[in-house]
């Protein structure tokens, strides 16, 4: 554990921006998101959590996969793989955990996604512990916590005028080269410990038994009602750090164009609309069920992990206050019934 004075932070960030693309929380009109910064003073570390999760650094809202030009005899292709070295600075431990979950999707036995994986490989994660977790956070229910280190390379713990710096990986150590920071003394360690103990996550969900309930509740009448107030927008999925669905379209003009990948969401009717006109998820009920099932059942089936980190963004951003904690509680409260009934 090392010690970093707060006045040293700016110089460190400035130094990092020279060797890396640094993405840090930036406040724009009260809306905090992870943006590439040119200098350390553009970033704010006084924030609860970003509006849009830092997943967008590795898996952007929209990206060009490749561009093409059709000539008479052949097709010319230009691939757009982003190989810049990056640092995501000041992300919350829950969001760091989301990258471990996303890894399952973009790197598995069947698929390897070079766009995500190249960025992932070249990105160092510097976390910032949550001294005051908001009331909508329930990360501890999902095996994470306000100072969890899983997935991070460095973790900053704010102890007032200084940060206690936990070096977690060699890549994290590299970011500190030439800094010569002192080791954290007893007092600082104790202060960090106190901060950690004071950061209570008050909100909880019960995951125990949830998966087995969902296993048999695809046809449960609960789905008829639980989605009713949902408007069918993508505010929850686009601000979710683990949602990863996308759409690919060609944007062409004449004989040249680009293949573009953009975020897409299971809450949209067109997401599953077939070319034939048939839609296997014709109403909001099926779409809402899919979102819940994917997070708490299908992802568990596929990767043995729950696709939620308890960041609370979907709760804060839902235009109708449809609260995932209440949805989980309602499912937990249902009688188990067999699919065959």
């Amino acid at each position: 554990m090392l010690l970093l004075k707060k006045e040293q932070l700016l110089a460190w960030l400035n130094k990092l921006t020279q060797a890396y693309q640094v993405f840090a929380p930036v406040n724009e009109e009260g809306c905090v998101s992870f943006k590439q910064i040119e200098a350390g003073d553009q970033c704010t570390l006084d924030y609860t959590n970003s509006k849009v999760p830092p997943k967008e650094v590795l898996f952007p809202r929209s990206e060009y996969l490749f561009c093409y030009r059709c000539e008479k005899e052949h097709v010319e292709l230009k691939e757009q793989i982003d190989e810049h070295k990056k640092v995501i600075f000041g992300l919350r431990p829950c969001d760091a955990r989301s990258f471990l979950l996303l890894d399952n999707v973009f790197r598995n036995e069947r698929f390897q996604d070079p766009y995500y994986l190249t960025r992932r490989k070249n990105t160092v994660l510097v976390g910032l512990g949550c001294n005051q977790p908001p009331a909508t956070c329930f990360c501890t229910s999902l095996g994470s916590g306000p100072f969890a280190t899983e997935g991070l390379d460095l973790l900053l713990v704010d102890i007032g005028d200084r940060y206690v710096l936990e070096v977690l990986t060699e890549r994290g150590q590299e970011l500190l080269s030439g800094m010569e920071l002192p080791a954290a003394d007893q007092e600082a360690r104790e202060a960090a410990q106190k901060v950690k103990e004071g950061a209570a996550v008050s909100s909880r969900v019960t995951l125990e038994g949830l998966k087995s309930k969902l296993d048999v509740s695809f046809d449960h009448p609960l789905w008829d009602l639980i989605h009713e107030k949902c408007l069918g927008c993508a505010a929850c999925t686009y601000t979710c750090p683990t949602c990863h669905c996308f759409d690919i379209v060609d944007e062409a003009q004449g004989n040249e164009g680009c293949r573009v990948r953009s975020w897409d969401a299971c809450m949209f009717p067109l997401f599953t609309l077939h070319g034939s006109g048939h839609n296997p998820r014709p109403t909001n009920k099926e779409r809402f069920r899919q979102r819940v099932m994917h997070k708490f059942k299908y992802f568990v089936d596929n990767f043995n992990a729950t696709a939620c980190v308890g960041c609370g963004r979907c709760i804060l951003n839902c235009p109708v206050n449809l609260d995932i904690r209440e949805v989980i509680a309602e499912i937990q409260g249902t009688e188990v019934r067999s699919n065959k009934q």
Binding site: Y64, C67, Y68, R69, K78, Q80, E251, E256, G257, C258
Partner: protein, 63 residues
């Protein structure tokens, strides 16, 4: 038309960029005249100012 022109203006796009003309199939000369005139007017106005506004992302292929 009027509604759309006024909207365009608020967006910072000149209302002269949108025009509606009723031309019958028998009025070939009038059609050609109108299109030529409109094309000249658009050329004079230059590219759509929104396209050159800051914040517009360059497509990698357009390089």
């Amino acid at each position: 038309m009027k509604v759309t022109q006024r909207l365009l203006e608020t967006l910072g796009i000149e209302r002269e960029r949108l025009r509606l003309a009723w031309i019958s199939a028998s009025e070939g000369a009038k059609f050609a005249e109108t299109v030529t005139e409109f094309t000249n007017q658009l050329k004079e106005l230059g590219p759509n100012p929104l396209r050159t506004s800051p914040g517009v992302q360059e497509k990698p292929c357009s390089a």
